[in-house]
Symmetry: C2
Subunit: 237 residues, 2 copies
């Protein structure tokens, strides 16, 4: 990490200098009661790698973290959150002035409809947990930009276990984002907790690029190259 | 840790020499689908501290771990598990020949009634998650001993957020265990994830001892002293 920063400094390659990049990472924590919660297998590693590469390329990076397995990288502005609702608030209030938003966090789609103040005691043989939809942060970011007429370049992630391409293309169409990075998290060497990833990047105008298994750092580097090219393309439209 | 082990070796104080101690630690992971799960705030630190002290006192320690925040201590036989069902199996098959069982893990009371093979896609505004009761491992250990007529000394933990004494005494009466270590996990300096704990120990024959805030290591030391005295008491009955 330190070596990377020194190398970047020596080379003087700072293509993201002056750019504000907001990255989300990790899984959200949706409380059932004071001791129990629903979460997911996201480790935060993919988002951390993106934040590191953006930092090394000279960007001013804000990293909005949910629950993560390791400590976030140095040299970035870390914002700790827990639930999807809090993550949404922390992201939305920072959009103004942000140039690139990359949503690598695994945000829970649902949260318990109500949170018990006391630990729920076991009393019956079964229990029904009512869940309600969480806000779709990626979509809200896209709608914010559309309503405003301008705003950040938006990259979303799609973690799937089946029909990866179908879900990714659907997500790209429905949400108002620029790129979708899709991976099959049930594939060996890809997805949650692993050191490597295998992703496919889908963009406007039928853009498609498959990245074979590589370290999350290498995925982050290639992804930021794609973002750079795509932003140039947008400027030309 | 190494220093403790050396000190214990030099002093030659091995009161648990030749004894088999089984400790459970951490929270269980109850899968909803391949990426989502229900868990709790247990860090595993209390169970780890007990395993360390038992090891330092000469015991042969088996540590059955759920999800934990740190790596388990050295010098103990670590068994990794995830769900309550798996933890139950790993504990029960080791009871024969075990002298002391200390159940410091936070076992989920409920698990999803069914586990989806694919990631559940968000489709509706709400979702109902049906949960069913998990086995009560502490109670099963007590019943195993009762049915057999002999078996290990049994210590259970009660993590509460209200009416701590009431729930602890109830647990002691209902389950066939020897000691209940109760704490209010919503109290500052006690419970999940903290370095210290504040517990009350309840035993047969109105035994009660409150331990003020101290490190989890100190709680473990005092707890194993209480276990030692209680086992002598049992032998005298």
């Amino acid at each position: 990490e330190i070596v990377d920063a020194i190398v970047a400094k020596l080379i003087g390659s700072k293509p993201l200098s002056g750019q504000r990049v907001l990255v989300t990472a990790g899984g959200t924590v949706e409380r059932i009661d004071p001791v129990r919660y629903i979460t997911n297998d996201s480790s935060g590693k993919m988002g951390f790698a993106i934040a590191e590469v953006a930092r090394d390329r000279g960007a001013e990076v804000t990293l909005v973290c949910g629950r993560t397995e390791a400590a976030p990288p140095n040299g970035v502005n870390v914002v700790h959150t827990d639930s999807a609702l809090r993550m949404r608030d922390e992201v939305m209030r920072r959009l103004d002035g942000t140039d690139i938003v990359i949503k690598a966090a695994a945000v829970a789609d649902y949260r318990p409809a109500s949170r018990a103040d006391q630990k729920i005691k076991k009393s019956s043989d079964s229990l029904t947990l009512e869940l309600v939809r969480n806000p779709d942060i990626l979509q809200e970011v896209g709608e914010w930009r559309e309503a405003r007429g301008s705003g950040p370049f938006i990259v979303g992630f799609a973690a799937e276990t089946a029909d990866v391409e179908k879900h990714a293309l659907d997500k790209l169409a429905r949400k108002k984002c620029d790129l979708i990075v899709a991976n099959n998290v049930s594939e060996a060497g890809a997805g949650f907790g692993t050191e490597t990833n295998i992703v496919s990047v889908y963009g406007r105008g039928d853009f498609f690029e498959h990245l074979p298994q590589m370290t999350k750092r290498a995925v982050a580097e290639r992804l930021l190259d794609i973002v750079k090219d795509a932003r140039k393309g947008l400027a030309n439209r």
